[in-house]
């Protein structure tokens, strides 16, 4: 069992996301993360799906995805050389003074941006791989995380399109 990252190219049509998500739930595959948006091909979207499972199970996931009429292509990019990112917005309790200075220092170390400052809190924006975001979250917890939201993982293969 390990996380696999799948690229799923789909028709950009109403209901496609629920078809894909529904397929996972009713066949008992657990989605770790799913991010979707338009892509370079007009009329299509690309989903980046992270799913946990052994090789046989992932093979079945791919085949079942391929059976959906709106799915154009499924690629498992787990073994490929990829760049991947997640984005997170974190609202941290930070009173003016020493606390806020510390939070800003931590943000600096993680190359997170401060994108909003309130009377008692600041909002950080951070992009990176999942581990980096996990680490920042852990660190900021001591100051008090008021709200936390993160996107799913998105990934691209390095080099030319199609892995060339």
């Amino acid at each position: 069992m390990r996380p696999h990252t799948l690229h799923v190219l789909v028709e950009n049509r109403a209901g496609v996301l629920s078809r894909v998500a529904g397929l996972f739930s009713r066949r008992g595959f657990n989605i770790e993360s799913l991010a979707v948006g338009t892509c370079e091909e007009p009329g299509m979207s690309r989903m980046t799906i992270v799913v946990l499972g052994d090789d046989a199970r992932i093979e079945q996931v791919k085949k079942q995805l391929n059976k959906l009429i709106d799915v154009i292509k499924v690629s498992d990019i787990t073994e490929q050389s990829t760049v991947d990112r997640e984005l997170a917005l974190i609202k941290v309790a930070a009173e003016p003074g020493e606390g806020r200075a510390e939070v800003m220092q931590v943000a600096g170390i993680f190359r997170a941006q401060i994108i909003d400052v309130g009377p008692k809190s600041v909002i950080l924006l951070v992009a990176g791989d999942s581990e980096k975001i996990d680490a920042l979250e852990r660190l900021l917890r001591q100051y008090g995380i008021k709200e936390f939201v993160r996107t799913g993982k998105i990934a691209l293969m390095r080099g030319m399109k199609g892995g060339r």
Binding site: V10, E11, A14, S18, K63, Q64, K67, L68, I69, V71
Partner: protein, 557 residues
Amino acid sequence: MKTGARLLVEGLQREGVETIFGYPGGAVLPIYDELYDAPLRHVLVRHEQAAAHAADGYARASGKTGVCLATSGPGACNLVTGIATAYMDSVPLVAVTGQVPTTMLGNDAFQESDITGITFPITKHNYLVKEAAEIGQVVRDAFFIAGTGRQGPVLIDLPKDVMTTQVEHVPEVREARLRGYQPTYEGHPRQVERAVALIREAERPLLYIGGGVVASGAAVEVLALAELTAVPVASTLMGLGAVPCDHPLSLGMIGMHGTEAANFAVTECDLLIAVGVRFDDRVTGRVEAFAPNAAVIHIDIDPAEIGKNKPVDVPIVGDAKLVLRAITAKLARQERGDGWLSRVRRWQEEGAGAAGTADGLSPAAVIRQMNALLDENAIVVSEVGQNQMWTAQHYCFRRPRTWITSGGLGTMGYGFPASMGAQFACPDETVALVAGDGSFQMNIQELGTVVEYDLPVKVVILNNLYLGMVRQWQELFYDRRYSYTELRPVDFVGIAKAYGVEGMRVENPDEVGPALEAAFDAEGAFVLDVRIEREANVFPMVPAGAAINEMIGRRGG
């Protein structure tokens, strides 16, 4: 200028549809208005579920795509069981449903249901059409999807305002070309080579064939391969009829209620050539003990079936007919060492004849007499349960598409409406339904439809006043505690008469033959209420979760 409803009806005609099964309602009135003088036969059933099952039976008997039509909300929901049945057995079906107007979608309007959402998991694909101008293309694509690749049901949901919208410029309907849907038909040459090599070398090969052989029209090719290389053939419930049951290489049905020959052969084979099957749990029993010492070749048009339940050595994605032709073309006539075939023959002889008690009216005897009276083109349909398994075991199917039954979903109430659909598809053939008293009562109202359309369907009820298969399981696995499986006696002949159908009750073994003859000779529909031995069981049987060769109730076992 054409309305959306007109475009739908024209689309159906363009696809060659002659008969549709449906039930009107508020949200489909524009379509029904078009049907009033359209050159299409609409069959009014008595329940929407029967419309779906009838369309399914029509499709299975004819090989064409069946079509059913229902209104929004309750009408659409009543199709669900029928759609799911077709999905599990890969039957080409197009279901058209009415929907509330687009302006009311999502408002919980009167008779609204999210039928595309509901049927996501049980359709090959579905459409909610929001633009009337798209209808023609959607119909074309829907039929293309339903009838190609691994066949299956497609649903088209049409909001009422889309049906009434006037389309000024009707777009031309082009060939279906879908980026995400390109079935593979030809087997991969290298895999074909590997299969050929395995077949040449095998000492104890076995063909394991299923519904995919019937769907692909590959019966001739299966027999050609079997005869050329002397390979015995075991068939799933869905594959019966693909190879004539009385062919020397035919081992009959495999699985939970399969023959000794088939179940023992699969246990001992060294090569399993699986064609158009999906290694269903009712076939394999404990999957690790299914063909435990065999190399496995799996031919299927659906890549997702290959390796799903059982590891496969040679996967071949493609159409069974084309793949088998490619394989057979590379093989020369082959004799097998005497050992394997004579061993198989011994199992066949030992297992011949049904086990069971001798007193009372035996269901097996009824089926065997039916078999003696009907010709090889007669279409035999079953309900689900003991009646289904007795028919599968004791009727000798000789041709594809003469056996119609709900396999994957096991839908009680399927058989009667499906037999109507089969009779519409094959008006000149005898269509006989074997039913249980429980399952017949699940769509008994279709007696009305049978009468209205003069359908000469022959219904043979194997009446044991029980939900027989459930009772059998209670007897074997729940200490004979017959919890809610006993049924009240019903005057089926009286009910048939009330609808205008002839009927007869049979209580003694010697009445069976004459009664069947009377039924088959009758002009119209006929209901035979045959009071069989109450606690007859379906044997042999592999208990759920046991190995395929661990059969109980077998002759001498």
